[in-house]
Amino acid sequence: MIAFDFPAVLAEWPLLARGLGATVALTAVSAPIGVGVGVACAWARLHGPRGLRTAVGIYVELIRNTPFIVQLFFLFFGLPGLGVKLAPEVASLLAMTVNLGAYAAEIVRAGVAATPRGQIEAAHSLALNEWQTYTRVVLPPALKRVWPALVSQIIIVMLGSAVCGQISTPELSYAANLIQSRNFRAFEAFLIAAGIYLLACVALRRLLNWIGPRFIFGR
């Protein structure tokens, strides 16, 4: 008979709470910056000068075709070989931002590319310059079109942050690992952590679906 001991894990709730806090913080910082990078890259890929277009294309393909854990290890273990030492938290944030930026670039680009030409022509005939046209006419409906995909991508990055525990960033999966190394209740610890991730995932989706229409692209 298998005997589970969930109370032994739940007794360590301060560790879990701090871990969840760190996961939330990592996501809260990397998500807006990552989406910002994505928007900038989407612009660069569609309207930028030729060299920039190629550079962004290489960045997007390189990130989208390598695993997140390898990107993280490269930043944390690889860069010190060149003399650049990053703290685990900084490496995690950077990896998450860079990762999200590449995916967001592709998602936003798809939204921007679907803009009807007439809208841009109308904006120009109203004497809006390129910048105004892009930020006020093209971007809001483009973001609205791709918001569900963007939300899913942000959630994937939040779940992906579980890997950051591997370079000793003290986030939720790291806390679970710490607890199981103390009381040997590995299955219970990871099951509870997975449950917390699931709840965080549902909450984040609701939050972003609420934020989007109100603050990002208007109703």
Partner: protein
């Protein structure tokens, strides 16, 4: 003191790359079988299938793959099974893959117009015949590109198996880096190797998408 050349690093990574490929194929084919079974249960309207499969998908898409790997590794051991990293990684990745594939394929089946179901039902076809002669040929066309695209995700997902001690590309990279003290070269090679594995599949998926959507 042994000197390691770049070729030593690349050669050993390539050797380990075999296991990334094998694990990807296991996860993908196993996942495809489970996903097809789940989809069939939904299409056959088995009582409760919709709820159960929906929950299953939410469970695997809403938790980190890393937790799933740990749970498979420690959970199977609870049942007295002697789990190797091979078994745990295969089981976790198969279930993870199936949750995504079943959702992708359901979308493809839903893309077939309702009238096709009704027309084939009016011809007195049963579910098996409807699927075989009417629905599957049309749904498969739509499904090819996203399925191949998801294969890239599977290859990348296998990198996480390194965490439970499965020696594939990433784990080998860590070990080689520890032995050679050349982390920058090793991790750069590692990333390029994944790129070399995934980029052709991405490009293939994209060309399939263009080809299949162009024939309308």
């Amino acid at each position: 003191m042994v000197e390691f050349s770049l070729w030593d690093i690349v050669r050993n990574l390539l050797l380990a790359g075999r296991w990334t490929v094998v694990l990807s194929l296991i996860a993908f084919s196993g996942g495809a079988v489970v996903a097809a079974a789940l989809l069939l249960a939904r299409l056959a309207r088995l009582p409760g299938a919709d709820t159960v499969v929906g929950l299953y998908v939410q469970l695997f898409q809403g938790t980190p793959l890393l937790m799933q790997l740990f749970l498979a590794y420690f959970g199977l051991a609870l049942f007295g099974m002697n789990v190797s990293a091979w078994v745990a990684a295969s089981v976790a990745l198969t279930l993870y893959t199936s949750a995504f594939l079943t959702e992708i394929w359901r979308g493809c089946v839903n893309a077939v117009p309702r009238g096709q179901w009704e027309a084939s039902a009016a011809l007195a076809m049963n579910l098996g015949e409807q699927l075989r002669h009417v629905i599957a040929p049309q749904a498969l066309r739509v499904a090819v590109a996203p399925t191949v695209g998801f294969l890239v995700q599977v290859v990348k997902a296998t990198a996480l198996a390194s965490v439970i001690g499965f020696v594939e590309l990433t784990k080998a990279g860590t070990m080689i880096s520890n032995a050679t003290f050349r982390p920058f070269a090793v991790y750069a090679c590692l990333a390029l190797m994944y790129f070399g594995l995934c980029y052709p599949i991405s490009a293939w998926s994209r060309s399939l998408e263009r080809k299949l959507s162009g024939h309308r």
